[in-house]
């Protein structure tokens, strides 16, 4: 990536800049506990929790799931998945979840 003096960029630069690196804690969703109430998606201040089909492996990989994690996910279901490229680990989703299905873990890098 070449930079341009004055930080001159084309539109949508915030999509190119991955801000998930700021995170200290990472949310992990227990999809079996999840009742699809939508609150995490609504409250996420980054707007980075998405509804994804568990069959959509490409999207899950893009949002930061590892292949072995994907194989253990419920089959044929709609999942609420944080996009770890942008999630800053603020814990709002975990706080709002009425089933306490989201737990925050210290992320080791």
């Amino acid at each position: 990536m070449e930079i341009k003096a004055g930080k001159l960029v084309d539109p949508c630069s915030t999509q190119i800049t991955k801000t998930g690196a700021w995170r200290t804690f990472v949310p992990v969703v227990d999809h079996k506990e999840c009742i699809k109430c939508n609150l995490c998606e609504i409250f996420c201040p980054e707007g980075c929790i998405h509804q994804v089909s568990s069959k959509d492996v490409d999207a899950l990989l893009k949002y930061g799931y590892k292949p072995d994690q994907i194989s253990s996910l419920p089959k044929d279901d709609i999942l609420f998945v944080p996009d770890l490229n942008y999630c800053k680990g603020c814990s709002v989703c975990a706080h709002e979840c009425p089933r306490k299905a989201i737990e925050m873990f210290l992320e080791e890098k």
Binding site: M1, I3, K4, A5, G6, K7, L8, V9, D10, P11, S13, T14, T17, T19, A21
Partner: protein
């Protein structure tokens, strides 16, 4: 290099004096700005800068100057307006001083970081508290690290000429950095003296239209100054640093081009007066130079080898030019109208740093003087010369407040 200030060009062209007019410094600068054809002017009036923008406002109202003059609620807004204007491709101008410059502080970094070539005259003035509206240079010296270029001028004619040069330097595609043209408040803004006002046609030839490569344009959207995380921020600062280093050459080049067109030259980065064989060299900036020249002439008549080095470009700081000019001095005295409380003073600290890794081992002493508008007289300069003379053997004091009134302390 010495005697250059006696201006060979003037002697060569006696006809020039016929074009001279006795005008107020502020008018002369406003007239120079008019000749630069700015598209947008925005400023907030503050003493002693007020007359500059009053004149410009009048010129716009009279139809003499085709510019958008935006009146705003504060200096913060004035410079913010110009961020948008300049990014949209408009040649932009402002002027301020003291508290006004302090209020602009956040925007100063935005302008330089977005690489917007705005030109601003700073009518140097003291800062509160205690409240004081007289001249010194604490305001712009305090803003030395904001990424703007800074040129300090000696008289009204140089203020006029430096303003036109400033746009050419700032808008150079390799530089793209804003400039402050710093002139002493009152001493230069309010004085009436003979000035050769710029010729509009010559100015237009000298300064090509502002044609930036990238502008804010709805049909080709771009963002200026977008977010940069730790992986790229350093490189943006490096690009600014590199541009200021390149500006060392551009300032010299533009000064020479100006001489070719207008016949006046003030030195590019530095200039000197009777410094060639000088043992005691005074280094300074701004309008106090006239007084120092007189004092030097008197000292020379007494047989003392005293000379002057004038720093014209303070940012970028002309390290190599100063090493070259000061290599034969046996003692250096820095005189400046600012103080870095808790340290020493801007020019002194920078000059010492510039010489430290060179072979020059000349003693350097520094003086802060003229704070809050106190006059610097020939007597004061004589005192500096005496102290510098003594410092050749032993430095009694590395840095001091000149003419300190011990009786009221």
């Amino acid at each position: 290099m010495s005697q250059k200030m006696s201006s060979q060009a003037y002697a060569d062209k006696p006809a020039r004096s016929a074009n001279m007019k006795v005008v107020e410094g502020s008018y002369a600068v406003a007239h120079a700005v008019m000749c630069c054809l700015p598209d947008v002017i925005s400023a907030y009036p503050i003493t002693p800068q007020t007359h500059i923008v009053e004149h410009l406002s009048q010129m716009v109202a009279d139809g003499e100057l085709d510019s958008e003059f935006l009146t705003v609620d504060s200096e913060f807004s004035a410079l913010s307006v110009l961020v948008g204007a300049s990014a949209a491709g408009a040649r932009s101008y402002s002027s301020t001083t003291s508290q006004g410059l302090a209020l602009m502080y956040e925007v100063l970094y935005n302008v330089s970081g977005m690489r917007l070539p705005i030109v601003m005259n700073v009518a140097n003035r003291a800062l509160s508290a205690p409240l004081n509206i007289w001249n010194d240079q604490q305001d712009s010296i305090g803003a030395r690290d904001v990424g703007w270029l800074q040129i300090y001028v000696e008289d009204v004619q140089e203020a006029v000429d430096a303003t036109l040069q400033a746009y050419k330097i700032a808008e150079d595609p390799a530089i793209r950095t804003p400039i402050m043209v710093c002139m002493d408040g009152y001493i230069l803004t309010h004085v009436y003296e003979p000035v050769e006002l710029l010729d509009k046609e010559l100015s237009r030839e000298f300064l090509p239209p502002f044609q930036p490569e990238n502008i804010l344009d709805p049909s080709d959207p771009k963002t200026f100054g977008a977010f940069a995380d730790p992986t790229t921020y350093t490189e943006f600062r490096y690009l600014q640093f590199e541009a200021q280093q390149k500006a060392l050459g551009t300032i010299e080049k533009v000064a020479k081009e100006f001489e070719e067109t207008f016949g006046r030259y003030y030195g590019g980065l530095v200039d000197s007066y009777r410094a060639e064989d000088a043992e005691i060299v005074i280094v300074t900036m701004g309008s106090v130079i006239g007084t120092i020249k007189d004092a030097i002439d008197a000292k020379r008549a007494e047989g003392k080898k005293v000379g002057l080095v004038k720093v014209r470009s303070y940012r970028p700081f002309p390290v190599q030019a100063l090493r070259k000019t000061l290599k034969d001095a046996s003692v250096i005295a820095v005189l400046e109208k600012d103080v870095a409380i808790g340290g020493e003073a801007g020019l002194l600290t920078d000059l010492k740093a510039a010489l430290y890794n060179s072979s020059i081992r000349t003693p350097i002493i520094g003086f802060t003087a003229g704070l809050g508008g106190r006059d610097i007289t020939i007597k004061d300069i004589r005192k500096i010369v005496e102290k510098a003379d003594a410092a050749r053997k032993k430095i009694e004091s590395e840095f001091e407040f000149l003419d300190l009134r011990m009786e009221i302390l």
